[in-house]
Amino acid sequence: MRQIPRWADVVLVPLISLLLAAICATLVILAIGQDPVEALNTMVTGALGSAYGWGYTLYYTTSFIFTGLAVTVAFHAGLFNIGGEGQAQLGGLGVALALLFVPWPHWTVALLGAIVASAAFGAVWAAIPGWLQAKRGSHIVITTIMFNYIAYSLIVWLLVDVLRPPGQAEPATARFAHGIPALSDIPGLNLVFTQGIPANISLFLALLACIGVWALLWRTPLGYEIRAFGKSEPAARYAGIRPVRTIMIAMALSGALAGMMSVNNVMGESGRLMQNASEGAGFIGIAVALMGRNHPFGVVLAALLFGFLYQGGAELGLWTSIPIELRIVIQGLVILFTGALDHMVRMMLSLVFSRRKVA
């Protein structure tokens, strides 16, 4: 098949995919007897039309950057980590334990402690399937999915029977002593953002993580080994790259990134650990990584898009008679077109480009 120009691959393919998803979403909205223009209007205004909306959109974006990066790192090692959800839940447990049982003197040190704990818990939770894959040949897709269920059940048990303060009816931990500043608490940004938004400084942590992942993958020998292993395991063996070590490191890094998402939602937004804190962000990370072409900077853009869809979709449920479940339909369509069907778009484009060459 003919190659298409790089700019078209990076810019045109996602845009056309999005357009197709939008067309389908329009048809769905029409089919349930609603007004697509109103829906789009509500979504854009709700997610991007106000500082308040942005406060939510960026909050979701932060989580999606972490889980998108998690999928990206594993993907470059040739591993499909579906377990971001479970790893994020375990990361939340790490945050909770660090903040509940260590008397941190100041929120800054508490933040560092939470970062380390969330990363460590997520890393361990991903490293177990990694080990099973490397040593036992158990397929990582299957094991990481199963580990999502185990994580979910483990957290529920801990919240109900172990970590729940006496007398509290709700399965959740006590409030943490330390939180982290929201974007609206930062001098300068407080002029833009209103109080009460969930977006917090872990957005900057997420952006730092992007740069870190980029540097790791493309500027260090370890990243080189991960990418080489992901492209060809026999060739990696030839080059003396150890398969078990590479799988374990890639999965641990992936899990650590997914776990760090909990700094945003558990420490930042809710201030305590609740059931199902990650709210599916681990799965969204797969779509984000796919759409972001498994590049950290692409992940940021894709995370922003999904942040918008998430927040805009919530607004739909709030302000229109369109059911909130439509948000999932729209997300599904975006994933379908940008992830599963983007090859189709690329093929169509390559026809267009090759025809132009002939003409």
């Binding site: 003919r2 540097a215 500027r219 260090t220 020998p221 080189y224 080994e225 990418r227 080489a228 492209k231 060809s232 026999p234 060739a235 063996r237 030839y238 080059a239 003396g240 790259i241 150890r242 090759s354 060459k357």
Partner: protein
């Protein structure tokens, strides 16, 4: 040469995107002749034959069969026109019998039995006429490669092919099997069939063809009568400049023992593939391993390179190598072993990586390529550019992905990477497989130069010519064992050929 023309191509052109694979090709193949088509990799031979067999459609031009214009839109049309094709990779059902494979796709009616009976009779006749004896009830998986090839030829004849195209037919055969194939082809010619032989081996062209057409960069450069040409002339036509066909080398200056290996064994899935091999290689020596592919050469190389685990003992300059799987490729590189793998695209490079990234492959943790915790990409690219200049890699673009280089240039990059590390022992497998003639000459020179610097070289190749001309000693492998070691200067093809077939008592 008889006067009649079996096949004629007039002005055939075919482009893939911006690549012109075939440019205005004219060729006449005389009826009842063996016609060779020779050219470097990528010269357009396979494209041309695919057009003839209906896999591709030419952008322009005509195909004439028996003097009549015959469009060939698909392979069914090619078969109807009496054209048969024997591919390099056989298209046989492994667990079917010969008979079943022959009638596959041309069964008469819905019941198998009448077809089989008819085919059995026809097969017996064909076997007798052309000297193609094959047991019709043998299963393909039980047949040797040479016999499988005969089944492919029978298939084509059964479909009443008058024109038989063979694509690199000897690549998988022992010399004896190749000789037998040539006898069969001569027999076909005597019966009035026309044979088109695609190959890059000059010796085969000289041995068997009546006429030869030379392709270069998509164009038909020349069609000559084989008797009136010579290998140097053909090589020059193929490459476009004078080529040194013989490897020019001084007698070996042997030094101390570099590799002393005893009783090397490797098993895969419970099957022993390497069955107790002993080797000694000295400084300044090239030990060549000859043999048909799949007789343990790959396992031997990979065991020494630290890719697979095995048993036995191996000492490199007196230091014991750990063969149990604890040492990997990196440890071997530290120990002083360089490795140009047999399957270069599968093992030797990452095809999607740029050339400069592949120059670091296996050496990516070396200090020269690092600054602090990061890789020193600038240093790496500079090193790659320098290697590309020294090894005449074209195009000299370090940023280009290695998959966009030709086979010869990929190999030059790998050889540059492994040789310039100054290894005490270089393992080099199929150094010139899929490499064009110009690059072959260059790579051979590099190998000899390394030997003359006092390094030890273990060479594995299925090209007997290459092993014989490069090596100082030749060891022949068959079924996981070394059948014998011969002095390259005094042995001959017949002797090695017998060893390759597993026959030890040489006359």
């Amino acid at each position: 040469m008889t006067g009649d023309t079996a096949i004629e191509l007039r002005g055939i052109s075919k482009a893939f995107g911006s690549v012109q694979a075939n440019k205005d090709i004219h060729i006449r193949v005389a009826k009842g002749s063996i016609h060779g088509i020779i050219g470097e990799n990528g010269a357009g031979k396979s494209t041309l034959m695919s057009i003839l067999y209906g896999f591709y459609r030419a952008d322009s031009g005509q195909i004439l069969v028996d003097g009549r214009e015959t469009p060939i839109p698909d392979s069914q049309a090619a078969i109807r026109a009496g054209i048969g094709m024997v591919f390099q990779h056989f298209k046989l059902v492994q667990n079917f019998t010969v008979l079943e494979n022959v009638i596959l796709g041309v069964e008469d009616g819905r019941l198998l039995r009448p077809s089989l009976a008819k085919a059995r009779k026809e097969l017996a006749r064909l076997s007798k006429d052309y000297g193609l004896e094959v047991d019709p009830d043998a299963k393909i998986e039980d047949l040797s490669v040479g016999y499988q090839q005969r089944v492919e030829i029978l298939k084509a004849l059964y479909r009443q092919a008058d024109i038989l195209i063979l694509d690199e037919p000897t690549g998988v055969l022992t010399p004896a099997e190749a000789d037998h194939l040539f006898r069969i082809l001569r027999g076909l010619r005597e019966q009035g069939k026309t044979v088109i032989l695609i190959t890059h081996k000059l010796r085969e062209i000289m041995d068997i063809t009546d006429e030869v057409s030379v392709m270069r960069r998509g164009e038909m450069i020349a069609s000559v009568v084989t008797r009136e040409t010579s290998p140097p002339q053909l090589a020059e036509l193929m490459v476009g400049r004078k080529v040194l066909l013989r490897v020019d080398k001084q007698p070996a200056q042997l030094g101390e023992v570099v590799l002393q290996a005893n009783d090397l064994r490797v098993s895969h899935d419970g099957v022993e593939r390497l069955k107790g091999v002993d080797l000694t290689i000295r400084r300044g020596e090239i030990l060549g391993i000859a043999g048909v592919a799949g007789n343990g050469q790959s396992e031997l190389m990979e065991l020494l390179a630290g890719i697979v685990a095995g048993t036995g003992s191996a000492r490199l300059l007196g230091r014991e190598l750990d063969l149990s799987g604890h040492e990997d490729g990196r440890d071997r590189r530290h120990a002083g072993i360089g490795h140009v793998p047999e399957d270069r695209q599968h093992l030797g490079v990452i095809m999607d990586f740029a050339a400069w990234e592949n120059v670091a492959f296996g050496y990516h943790r070396e200090d020269a390529y690092r600054s602090g915790p990061f890789t020193d990409n600038a240093a790496l690219k500079a090193d790659t550019a320098a290697k590309m200049e020294r090894f005449d890699v074209r195009p000299p673009l370090p940023n280009l992905a290695i998959k966009h280089f030709s086979g010869g240039n990929q190999q030059k990059i790998i050889v540059a990477r492994e040789i310039e590390r100054n290894p005490d022992l270089l393992l080099i497998g199929q150094p010139t497989r899929g490499v064009d003639i110009g690059a072959i000459e260059f790579i051979h020179k590099q190998i000899v130069a390394l030997r003359d610097q006092g390094k030890a070289i273990l060479l594995v190749s299925v090209e007997l010519d290459e092993v014989m001309s490069l090596s100082d000693r030749v060891a022949v492998m068959f079924d996981g064992r070394i059948m014998g070691v011969r002095d390259a200067a005094t042995t001959n093809e017949r002797e090695l050929g017998l060893l390759m077939a597993g026959v030890t008592e040489t006359a």
